[in-house]
Amino acid sequence: MKRLLAVLVLATGLSLAQGVVLRALMEDVPETRIIEELLPRFERETGIRVEFEKVQYAAMHDKLVAQLLAPQSAYDFLQVDFLWAGEFPAAGWLEPLEPYVKRSGFDLSPYYPSMLDLVGYYRGTLYMIPMYNYAMGLIYRKDLLSRKDLAEKYRARFKRPLALPKTLEEYVDLSLFMAKNAGVAGAAMQGQRGDPNFMEFSNYLFAAGGDYVDRNWRVTLASPQGEKALALYVRNIQQGAQKGALNANLDDTFRVMCQGRAFSMITYWWMLPQLDDPKQCPKVAGKVALSPVPGGAGVNGGWGWAIPKNSAQKEAAWRFISWVESKPIVRERALRGHAPTRKDAFQDPEVLKKYPYYKEAERIIAGAKKVPIFAYTAEMEDVVGREISLAAAGQKPVKQALQDAARGLEGLLKKAGLLR
């Protein structure tokens, strides 16, 4: 009798799950396709079908906001960029995940603290599960760094051997040197105002020892370190970067680097396998390497999974999230080229064998710093990006641009209630 009951319950559960369809808006990138390949397995195991609507990054935020404001969201779970990881919870759009984690016994310990800080917790409450990391590092051309003629010229000019730079000044010096002597741009730079130049500049800021805010959200951007960072950034974009850098975005810099027309780029570490792919970039494959941003910390970036408060299928959504973030699936994703956020995947021997540079990536993630994440992070990118762009275009002196950016940031922090 008991067995019959169990079978009945199981059958009802399965038939209830049958016909459940979860929808999500996902960025149209290879990583999404990797997860998509694994979806039939989830459907076989749970009877829940998952459908992805794939769009370009630039279209995601507006689409999500429209759905999150609606009485019921068309998306049952979300992929949240770290830039929205303050805005969405602050607006009350996300479901707190602690009850789900407790109920299902989901283990958070394999995640890097820097990742949980970035796309996990918001002001002490867990709203997201880290999904993907895109911390920034330096990608450079090994072959140019070991060219004899360049090494001699470099030594004659700087009285030190040509090597991977240790500080931000050294890096900019090297970039300008390469631009002058190696027949390539010293750096492929993404100077388009907004997200591209904000993210790029933030690496310079952190590498120079500066930061946007202190622990109490007081703005520290217009510091001597900040000034040094912006001056070096402007110098590099004006003298070391490729033509058109002031209007370039990530795709443009990738093309420049892929065609072998630049020595280096400060970019997301997952760019390395793209550039190292002989089919995609035959001119530079085998010649590129990854390292942390000279001077130390780079910018941390990432995506997290979340469930909108107005989702109609929260339990099923959590089932998907806990499945896709389970150890075997994360490992499977990592082996197929999806950047992980869990230590066990980074340290998995098979994963490391396939992607030896994950060692460097792990160093980058462990040392990465985050830009201020709060309700108006997206607007902060716009405001600060505008000032960086004005300075880079030579339309505003460095000091003035930095002060204006700091003032703009302060206004946003006040608006968000973080500063008085």
Binding site: V65, Q192, R193, N247, A248, V256, A378, A393
Partner: protein, 279 residues
């Protein structure tokens, strides 16, 4: 009287639809602009004209407004001049006329985002043909050229519409005044400026209004080509308002700015109507 009632009745469905699709959002935006509504704090406390004052005190909004003024002047002026030239040329007896029509109307048929992407590649400082011809000039990344470049791309697309409208205008002009001018010994140049052009003025006027309204709203090209940069060189007002709403999450502020734009466009239209009725 009965006829008028039937007319109203027949127009009612259309009017209702218009009221629903255009009127309601306009009223809602007006309401929002008088509150402090944001996506993060949808409380909507009454603010009076506070958000309008905020907008006026925002130096970057004022900059965007002024820049848009320059941009509209530039694009509309060039579009009308080039459109008129093309229309007059197409009005001649040319061989392969169909082919010319097709070539002239093609830009109009492409979505603005497509136009932006095509020109982005043409203007690309490393890969683009134009940059190659002009010695690697960085048209969009250099603050000195960016606005003009944006305007020229826009003119490239808008001219085809202007040319077709003006061509239709030319076709519908009465022939007699022109014949009379020639009988009186006018040169083609004189005939055009003294007879054809004045007769074409009402069409040009309508086109002027349509173009001004279209250009004030320019958004897609900025989005695709420059994102308002370098610096604030191409930060046109529609793009600014969009960012206010969707990056700043400030719907009330954006609505107030939108109303400024609406009022400016309405004022221009009203001015034109007055000119037209007086004439």
């Amino acid at each position: 009287m009965k006829g008028r009632g039937t007319g109203l009745l027949l127009a009612l469905p259309g009017l209702l639809l218009l009221a629903g699709v255009v009127g309601l959002p306009l009223l809602y935006a007006l309401y929002l602009s008088l509150t402090d509504y944001t996506f993060l704090k949808p409380s909507a406390a009454f603010q009076g004209l506070g958000r309008y004052l905020d907008a006026l005190q925002d130096p970057y909004f004022r900059h965007a407004l002024a820049l848009t003024g320059v941009y509209v002047g530039l694009t509309v002026g060039l579009t009308l001049a080039l459109g008129l030239l093309l229309a007059v040329l197409l009005h001649q007896r040319l061989p392969f006329r169909g082919l010319h029509y097709l070539a002239v109307s093609l830009p109009m048929l492409i979505a603005p985002v497509g136009v932006g992407l095509i020109w982005k590649m043409i203007l690309h400082p490393e890969l683009g043909i134009l940059a190659y011809l002009f010695g690697g000039r960085d048209f969009l990344g250099d603050a000195r050229y960016a606005l003009l470049t944006l305007a020229l791309v826009d003119v490239w697309q808008q001219t085809s519409f202007a040319a077709l409208v003006l061509l239709a205008g030319l076709r519908s002009l009465p022939k007699e005044p022109l014949e009379a001018a020639y009988v009186d010994g006018a040169t083609p140049w004189q005939a055009f400026w003294r007879v054809t052009f004045p007769l074409l003025l009402p069409v040009l006027g309508v086109l002027l209004i349509l173009q001004v309204v279209a250009e004030v709203r320019t958004y897609d090209l900025v989005y695709v080509l420059t994102r308002g940069g370098p610096g604030t060189a191409t930060d046109l007002v529609s793009f600014y308002i969009y960012r206010k709403a969707f990056l700043g999450l400030d719907l009330s502020g954006a609505s107030a700015m939108g109303y400024f734009l609406l009022l400016a466009t309405l004022a221009l239209t009203a001015l034109y109507y007055r000119g037209l009725t007086r004439a």
